[in-house]
Amino acid sequence: MTSLAIDIRGLRTEFHTHVGIVKSVRGVDMRIGAGEILGLVGESGSGKSVTAHSIMRLLPSIARIMDGAILFEGKDLVASTEKEMREIRGNRISMIFQEPMTSLNPVLRVGPQVAEVLRLHRGMARKEALAFAAELFSRVGIPDAARRLEAYPHEMSGGMRQRVMIAMALACSPKLIIADEPTTALDVTIQAQILELLRDLVANADAALLLITHDLGVVSETADRVAVMYAGQIVEMAPVERFFSTPLHPYSIGLMRSVPRLDEDEQGDRTLYAIGGTVPNLMNLPRGCAFQSRCAHVHERCRIEEPAMRPVADGHEVRCWLHDS
């Protein structure tokens, strides 16, 4: 890791709802190197999307970043103005969402929707922007690119629409791309194509990628490093080979066991191992470790003190009292 694309320090994001304060992100530290792919995994509700939206500063009005810094290109995004953020969004940091079917405006042609970013951030004229959009379309593997610019979203398949979204995200050569479950809504063969495309494009464009997913298979095939998120915190972070060979956090081990092993023979045990219990209530967390109610290794100390992230090997950190030395 030579230079950092983004450096997030102690990020805390809360939702102030009428029933109470939801602590969705509780002190996240995360660095992504230039050109690196970081896979962020965790169960539903663990705070992956809220982390992403905090970076983009696209949180709903009831959400507030309470603490922390997001250092990006010499600026702290937490302290940036809305105007500064608008110059960064879609330009220096872009985002790909989960639902290609609903992510494009249904009443506008796809070409102009991509060209819009170029006109906004690059000051390109209409024609120039459309020509560039056509180039982006062929780069993301949309056949007959120039003609497809004219299409409306409903005339395209889910996979093609996600390619359009990727073209849009790449348009201004951003330094960081955040992809929030970019393949979850697609069927398996398309999923693999889109992931491969993302990986190649990110490598070529030298952009960093924050790949959010709850699918460890996606992470193992795509990411350089893995961050596991649980109840608003990162509980383990490691290079991808290291993570899959020696996961340390009890939650990571549980996650790993819940992945169906396709290479196991038919007679083998293919039943899913589910982690027992449910995610703790983010409005009312227990004292100590957030995972204690579901952990097989819970002991006295876990219920009193909250563990901190501790380095255990080169680039491998874990938040668990079992590995506190």
Binding site: F97, P106, V107
Partner: protein, 323 residues
Amino acid sequence: MSLILYLLKRLLYTLPLMAGAIAIIFFLIHAAPGDPVDYLIGEAGASQEVVDRLRAQMGLDRPVIVQFGIYAFEVLAGNLGYSVVSGAPVLTLILERFPATLLLMATQYTLAAIIGITLGVVSARRPNSATDNVITFFSLASFAIPVFWLGQMMILIFGYYLDWFPIQGMTNLRKGYTGFAYVLDVAYHLTLPALTLAIYNVGLVLRLTRSSVIQVTGQDYIKVARAKGLSERTVLFKHALRNALLPVVTVIGVEIPGLIAGAVLAETVFGWPGLGRLTLDAINARDYPLLMGMFLFICLFVILANLVVDLLYAALDPRIRYS
């Protein structure tokens, strides 16, 4: 499907609609109590002989079904008959009055649409804020106030006490303006009735726009638009509004008949020389040919207006054109 083909298909649909309308209107009017002869002879009464002669003249002595056949045939030939009261051709009478009504309706609905959509968007930007609450109160009041009462209040306040606007009619007959001065004079007379109707209609457009914009701004493509770095205004007006207007356009289409009913009331209150007054007079006089002509004309108008609305919808939503 192209827009032209879509238009042709819709035009074809109007033929059976119109045929049905002719039959229903004819039998409804003939089923209503009263008879033009009663009106013509008035309170004084006349001998049975005179009555019978009049009835024969108007063809009222023949069986209803024969009368219908004759009427339908004439209508298809483009002849709506003659007014029993004035003797003038019905079509001429209608076309004479139609521009005034069209002017009033178009002006008031344009006003209502502009005010309603703007306030709806403003309201939706911050739901439940003070601004939203004030606008909501206004829109509910606009629903609840009857047109004729509102019209009379407008006359009282702006016409009588403040004396800013004329109270009755469409032009100042005494001055006899021509050219641009005439246009200004009509606009001056138009202000109060158009404003009255616009206030009455604004509520619906406003409420619909508000809920529709709120619904649309929760959509994924709005999140995407914000993630592009677009300003909130561009997000709202370029990406959200066009989608949000789709349900509004639909309801405007459904509301057109109600619009005409409102126009009849307002025309009466403001002495506006349009179709509303003509209809009212025709009802009082049991002027069958004129009444039927009026209703047929209104039907045709509603059907065509709906066609325009459908085309507008198709222009706004590409998904319609291709399905």
